[in-house]
C-alpha cells in the first residue's frame, strides 16, 4: 500500500531523513520506533506532503505522492493523527469532526456527514456525550480520541499515528489502542504507527522499523525486534 524508496527530506539545507526505505502492506499495522529527534515525525510530515524539500519516492497504492499537495494526499486516502493532537481548541467536538472532512467536502459528502459522525460516536461514545463541548476543555485522552476521530472522518485507507500515547495514562492508552485494533479488524484499515513507547507499539504491530538519526537501522517482525539486543537496550529497558 505504502512504498517508500530512498527518501531524503530536508529542513532547508540540512538532510534530516537519509535514504529511508520502508513499506506498509494493506491491512498491516507497522510501527516506527526511535528516540526523540530521530526523524519519526519528519517522516510522517514528509509522507503527508508537509515538507518542502524531498528526494526519493513515496508510492501510495502505486501512485507517486512526492510533490502532491497535502489536501490531495488526504483525498487519496491518507490521514495523519499529529503529535500533540493539534485540535482546534475553541471549536466544539462536532466542528472538529466536520473539519476532518474538509479536503473532500462536497454536497454529496454532506449527506453522509451525519452518518459518519454517528459512526464515530459509536466508536468513541464519550465524544458523542461531549459533542457540543469545546475541544480545548476535553481531557488529554478525550482529545486524543477526537484527534483520531477527526482523521477517520476523511475515510482514510492508511492512518498515520504520531505518538498517540504521549502524555496519557496507561489505561487510556490501552483503551485507545483497543479501539484502533477493533477498527482495523472491522474496516481493513492500514496503520503506520510512530511511537517512542516501543513496547506498546510492538505489542500491537506485526512488523516494525527502528529509526536513528534519520536512518532506518533495523527492521523485522515483532519478535525479531523484541529479540534484538540493540532494541532491548535502547527502547525496551533491557540490559
Amino acid at each position: 500500500m505504502l512504498k517508500i524508496r530512498s527518501l531524503k527530506s530536508y529542513y532547508e539545507s540540512i538532510c534530516v531523513l537519509k535514504a529511508i526505505s520502508l513499506h506498509v502492506g494493506r491491512g498491516e499495522i507497522v510501527t516506527l520506533i526511535g528516540a526523540n529527534g530521530s526523524g519519526k515525525s519528519t517522516l510522517l510530515k514528509t509522507i503527508t506532503g508537509l515538507m518542502d524539500r524531498v528526494e526519493g519516492s513515496i508510492l501510495f497504492e502505486d501512485r507517486e505522492i512526492v510533490g502532491t499537495a497535502s489536501s490531495d494526499i488526504v483525498k487519496q486516502g491518507i490521514a495523519l493523527v499529529p503529535e500533540g493532537r493539534q485540535l482546534f481548541s475553541p471549536m466544539s467536538v462536532m466542528d472538529n469532526l466536520i473539519l476532518g472532512t474538509y479536503p473532500s467536502y462536497s454536497i454529496k459528502e454532506r449527506k453522509n456527514l451525519q452518518q459518519k459522525v454517528e459512526w464515530i460516536y459509536e466508536l468513541f461514545p464519550i465524544l458523542g456525550e461531549r459533542k457540543k463541548q469545546l475541544a480545548g476543555t476535553l481531557s488529554g485522552g478525550e482529545q486524543q480520541m477526537l484527534s483520531i476521530a477527526r482523521a477517520l472522518m476523511s475515510s482514510p485507507r492508511l492512518l498515520l499515528l504520531d505518538e498517540p500515547s504521549m502524555g496519557l495514562a496507561p489505561k487510556i492508552v490501552e483503551n485507545i489502542f483497543e479501539t484502533l485494533m477493533e477498527l482495523k479488524e472491522k474496516s481493513d484499515l492500514t496503520i503506520f504507527l510512530v511511537e517512542q513507547n516501543a513496547k506498546l507499539a510492538l505489542d500491537v504491530s506485526e512488523r516494525g522499523y527502528v529509526i536513528e538519526t534519520g536512518q532506518i537501522i533495523l527492521s523485522g517482525d515483532r519478535d525479531e525486534l523484541m529479540n534484538n539486543k540493540e532494541v532491548l537496550r535502547a527502547y525496551l529497558g533491557g540490559e
Binding site: 512504498k3 524508496r5 530512498s6 537519509k18 535514504a19 526505505s21 520502508l22 513499506h23 526519493g56 536512518q215 532506518i216 537501522i217 533495523l218 527492521s219 523485522g220 519478535d223 525479531e224 529479540n227 534484538n228 539486543k229
Partner: protein, 433 residues
C-alpha cells in the same frame, strides 16, 4: 507441494525487491558502523551507504574474499559484540585458517526458518523421522538442519558422525524416513548395503537431502534407484549462514535462492565482471538479514549459473543451477577450463556408479598433463585385465570426446584414495613448482 513461508517464497518480484533494498540499506549502514574492514573500505573507495538508492548500487562495492575473512580471524568481521553472539560455528580450515562465524539469537531463528524451507521443499513434514548424518559441532550441516527440522515439528535423530554401521542400524530400528547427509555418506551407504545385503524394503526411507559437496545427476538416479527414495539438493556455506541458502523443490531442476536473505550475483572468476543470467561463473552472495556476521559481495568460490524464469512449484525466488564445482577446483588444462564434476559424469557413466577418484595435474615442458586415479569396485578390480583395459580405454575416449583432452587413467583398489569431506579432488602439482 507445500511451501514453508508462502509470504516470502512466493512474493511478487517487485515486492521482494523493495524488501531487499530496505534490508540491504540497513545492512550496509550496519557494517559501516560496526565492522572496521567495511568502514575502512567504504572510506577508501568513497562509498556512502546513504547514497544507495537501488540494488544495482551494490556493484560499487569491491568483493569480500575468503582471505579477508581469514585475516580477520577470529572476531574482526563480527558486527555485534560477543555478548550478543549466542553461537559460533566455523569452517573446516582444510585450505587455510578456519573462519569463525557468530550468530545472534535472530540469526539462529532465521537459519532455522531457512532450513525449514529446504526440508519442506523436499517434501518433509512434521510426520517424518529425520536422521541427520552431517557431523554436529563446528561444521554447520548438523545443527543447521537440526533446528529447521525441529521447527517444522519432525522427529530428529542427531546421528551425526556415528560410524556408518551404527547409522544403518538406527535407520532400520528407528524407522528413519528422511536422511540429511553428504553424497559421500550415501555412496558409503550403498557399499555397506551391498556388503551386509541390506535392502531398501527393510528400511522406511522415502527422502534424502544432499548437501555440503558437489554431486551429479547420474548419482541422483543411482541413489534413487538403489535406495528407493527421492533425493533433493541444497546449498549453503558456513561463511554466509550454513545450509539454507538455496534448495531444490520436488521439481528437482535447480535450487531456489532465499532472496529475502541473500542477494546473489554471478561473476567471471578471473575478471570479476558480472555475468548475465544463464552464464556460468562464480556465485557471489550478500547477506541482508544477518546481524552477527554480515557479508557484502562474498565470493563463494562455487561455480553455478542463475535462472530467473519462475519455477512451476510457485516459488518466486531466482534459482541457481546445481554447483558445478569450486573455483579452486577449476582445472585449466592447456587454456581450457574444466571442473571435477565434468569428469565425475563420465566416470559414473563408464564405471556404473559414482567412483572415488582424484585428478592429478602436472606439466611436462609446456604441456599440461592429467592423470585420473579411480577406485574401481573389488569385483571389477579382480576381473580380467581386459576388463580393466576396457574401462581405461572408455574413460580416455569419453574424456577426449567431451572435454577435448587425453588423460592418463589409473585404476586403483577400493579405499586406496583417502579423502575427507569437502576436500578437493584435484591435486595440482603445477602449483607446487
Amino acid at each position: 507441494m507445500p511451501i514453508w513461508n508462502e509470504k516470502f517464497e512466493t512474493m511478487p518480484h517487485e515486492e521482494l525487491e523493495q524488501e531487499q533494498l530496505e534490508r540491504l540499506q540497513q545492512t550496509l549502514g550496519r557494517v559501516n558502523r560496526r565492522v572496521s574492514h567495511y568502514h575502512e573500505l567504504f572510506n577508501k573507495i568513497g562509498f556512502d551507504p546513504l547514497e544507495v538508492t537501488s540494488l544495482e548500487d551494490l556493484r560499487k562495492i569491491p568483493f569480500t574474499t575468503k582471505e579477508t575473512l581469514r585475516i580477520a580471524y577470529p572476531y574482526d568481521m563480527f558486527a555485534v559484540p560477543l555478548r550478543e553472539v549466542v553461537r559460533m560455528q566455523s569452517t573446516s580450515g582444510t585450505t587455510g585458517q578456519p573462519i569463525i562465524v557468530g550468530y545472534t539469537h535472530n540469526d539462529i531463528d532465521h537459519w532455522s526458518e531457512l532450513t525449514a524451507r529446504v526440508l519442506t521443499a523436499a517434501g518433509v513434514t512434521k510426520d517424518d523421522i529425520i536422521q541427520i548424518s552431517f557431523p554436529y559441532g563446528l561444521f554447520t550441516g548438523g545443527l543447521g538442519f537440526h533446528y529447521g527440522a525441529e521447527l517444522i515439528g519432525a522427529s530428529v535423530i542427531p546421528s551425526s558422525d556415528t560410524d556408518i554401521e551404527n547409522q544403518v542400524a538406527i535407520m532400520r530400528d528407528y524407522r528413519t524416513t528422511v536422511l540429511c547427509c553428504a553424497p559421500t555418506f550415501a555412496a558409503m551407504l550403498l557399499e555397506i548395503f551391498d556388503e551386509k545385503s541390506v535392502t531398501p524394503a527393510e528400511l522406511s526411507l522415502s527422502r534424502a537431502l544432499f548437501g555440503a559437496e558437489s554431486w551429479n545427476e547420474s548419482f541422483r538416479i543411482e541413489i534413487e534407484e538403489k535406495l528407493q527414495l527421492s533425493v533433493t539438493d541444497n546449498y549453503g556455506l558456513t561463511e554466509v549462514m550454513g545450509p539454507g541458502v538455496s534448495y531444490e523443490c520436488e521439481e528437482k531442476k535447480s535450487l531456489h535462492i532465499s532472496e529475502d536473505h541473500f542477494i546473489p550475483e554471478i561473476i567471471d572468476p578471473d575478471s570479476g565482471e558480472i555475468l548475465p543470467e544463464g552464464e556460468k561463473g562464480e556465485l557471489v552472495l550478500t547477506t541482508i538479514t544477518k546481524e552477527g556476521y554480515p557479508l557484502i559481495r562474498y565470493r563463494t568460490g562455487d561455480i553455478t549459473s542463475l535462472i530467473a524464469e519462475p519455477c512451476v512449484c510457485g516459488r518466486g525466488f531466482i534459482r541457481m543451477s546445481r554447483v558445478l564445482g569450486r573455483v579452486d577446483d577449476m582445472i585449466i588444462l592447456n587454456g581450457q577450463n574444466m571442473f571435477p564434476t565434468q569428469f565425475e559424469q563420465i566416470l559414473t557413466y563408464v564405471v556404473g556408479k559414482i567412483p572415488s577418484y582424484q585428478l592429478l595435474v602436472d606439466r611436462k615442458g609446456n604441456i599440461d598433463q592429467l592423470e585420473i586415479q579411480i577406485e574401481v569396485p573389488q569385483d571389477i578390480f579382480n576381473d580380467e585385465v581386459k576388463t580393466l583395459n576396457r574401462i581405461e580405454r572408455d574413460i580416455v575416449r569419453d574424456v577426449k570426446e567431451k572435454l577435448d583432452f587425453v588423460p592418463k587413467v589409473t585404476l586403483v583398489e577400493p579405499r586406496s584414495i583417502v579423502r575427507k569431506m569437502k576436500q578437493s579432488r584435484v591435486i595440482d602439482l603445477r602449483k607446487t613448482e
